[in-house]
């Protein structure tokens, strides 16, 4: 989807940045949601010291979401990332689900960072996507996270080794439009293949509090 070469952080097109797999549909249905209390709290990334927090979502967080998600408020998290000055850099809803042997987190954007309301018309052109991570608790106070690799899936699609619903845009980008059931099958099938995960977005976290 990248149309212009923007230097550095001017690029707003984030799909497949660092080859991370994003999907139009979630990887869970209402009945799949799982809440693990171990994840709730503040964490520090071992690689770069980034501070993040996971807290249980409250009804006020969810007012903009569908009634189905609202009634499951206690079953998912608000993920927040702050910079050194304590300013919010990123905010996502994080939904935990168990697929096969592993637990996964489905991140969904929770809002934009701005000092005032974003222009509606402009904002309407941005479609939020789901980012998928596998999470493994190494201890009660630490976990590893790995994001599914988009390049691996794209390769499978290009070589016709997989049938999964997707679109290819004019500029050759892949957008995975597979419904939830198809996504779950893919994740379970490739859960033990290391190449299916992106090394760039692997991280370990230790609990702060």
């Amino acid at each position: 989807m990248k149309k212009f070469i923007f230097p550095g952080a001017l690029c707003f097109i984030l799909v497949f940045l660092n080859s991370c797999l994003t999907t139009l549909h979630p990887i869970f249905t209402e009945k799949d949601l799982v809440f693990d209390h171990r994840l709730a709290g503040s964490w520090k990334k071992t690689k770069d010291g980034l501070s993040v927090s996971y807290r249980p979502a409250t009804t006020s967080d969810l007012e903009a979401l569908s009634p189905t998600l609202q009634r499951n408020a206690g079953k998912f998290y608000m993920y927040e990332e702050k910079d050194e000055q304590g300013r919010m850099k990123k905010a996502n809803f994080a939904f935990m689900v168990k697929l096969g042997k592993y637990y996964y987190l489905d991140y969904y954007p929770a809002g934009v960072k701005q000092t005032g309301p974003v222009d509606e018309f402009f904002a309407a052109h941005y479609i939020p996507m789901h980012s998928i991570y596998r999470i493994r608790f190494t201890t009660n106070n630490s976990f590893d996270i790995q994001q599914l690799d988009a390049g691996y899936l794209e390769n499978l699609i290009r070589n016709k080794k997989i049938r999964i619903r997707h679109e290819v845009t004019e500029d050759g980008s892949y957008v995975i439009t597979a419904p939830t059931e198809e996504l779950q099958k893919y994740i379970v099938k490739y859960s033990d293949i290391p190449e299916a995960y992106s090394n760039d977005n692997s991280a370990s976290y230790n609990k702060i509090n």
Binding site: M88, P109, Q114, T115, A124, H125
Partner: protein, 226 residues
């Protein structure tokens, strides 16, 4: 940034999203792009002042080219020859709202006797940070894909009407099963998106572009020339 603002922003996006139906693929391609310089100029829409210029000669493009050449030693800001062809014949609209300057690309195509516009977002940067190098970007807090909106253009003297496709009508026809077009809908997150190809979109509008049911007053933006 506090939680209430996040919430307000989320509400804004998601409320508007429910009334706007966009397309994954552009209506206009490099081989079908058309130009009509009547679109260029300074326009007033409600409380907004919108400037529309030809992209290759716009200040936006000049700034972009300068920063690209300075930093990346690349010859073109475009990813491909096709993009270069398309955008060289497109227009950029910019407006300021709440401390942010928004840039949107407008490409035109003639289908039958009607002129249609494809509008896609390009950039939103703080007015007080024109070069915006520190990653203080809109929509960088999450993962998004960009999509395109489509409008029929009608020139009336010193005015342009952007008649956007009525999203509620389209959704209603899709729900009733009267409309056959590639479309994705996620009920859990109320996300929907037209995924038809550019060719199919053009065929669709060539056939139904004159049908008044596709448009309504609420989705029409009338720009008055300043």
């Amino acid at each position: 940034m506090n939680k209430k603002l996040f919430l307000a922003v989320s509400l804004t996006i998601l409320t508007f999203l429910s009334s706007c139906l966009t397309s994954l693929n552009r209506l206009v391609t490099h081989s079908t792009v058309s130009t009509d310089n009547r679109i260029m100029g300074n326009w007033q829409f409600e409380d907004l002042q919108i400037k529309i210029e030809s992209l290759p000669v716009s200040s936006f493009y000049k700034d972009l080219l300068a920063s690209v050449k300075a930093k990346e030693e690349v010859k073109s800001v475009f990813d491909s020859k096709e993009d270069s062809l398309l955008y060289s014949n497109s227009y950029v609209a910019d407006f300021v709202r709440n401390g942010y300057r928004y840039y949107m690309i407008c490409s035109l195509v003639k289908l039958g006797n009607d002129l249609f516009a494809n509008i896609e977002p390009v950039q939103a940067r703080p007015v007080n940070k024109p070069t915006d190098n520190d990653g203080d970007d809109l929509f960088s807090t999450g993962t998004y894909i960009t999509s395109n909106s489509i409008a029929k253009l009608v020139f009336k003297g010193n005015e342009i009407e952007f008649r956007f496709i009525d999203a509620e009508f389209v959704r209603e026809q899709l729900k009733k099963g009267n409309l056959a077009i590639k479309y994705e809908k996620d009920d859990l997150f109320s996300t929907d998106l037209i995924t038809a190809s550019s060719v199919d979109l053009q065929h669709f509008l060539a056939k139904y572009g004159k049908d008044q049911k596709l448009y309504n007053k609420e989705n029409t933006a009338t720009l008055k020339k300043i």
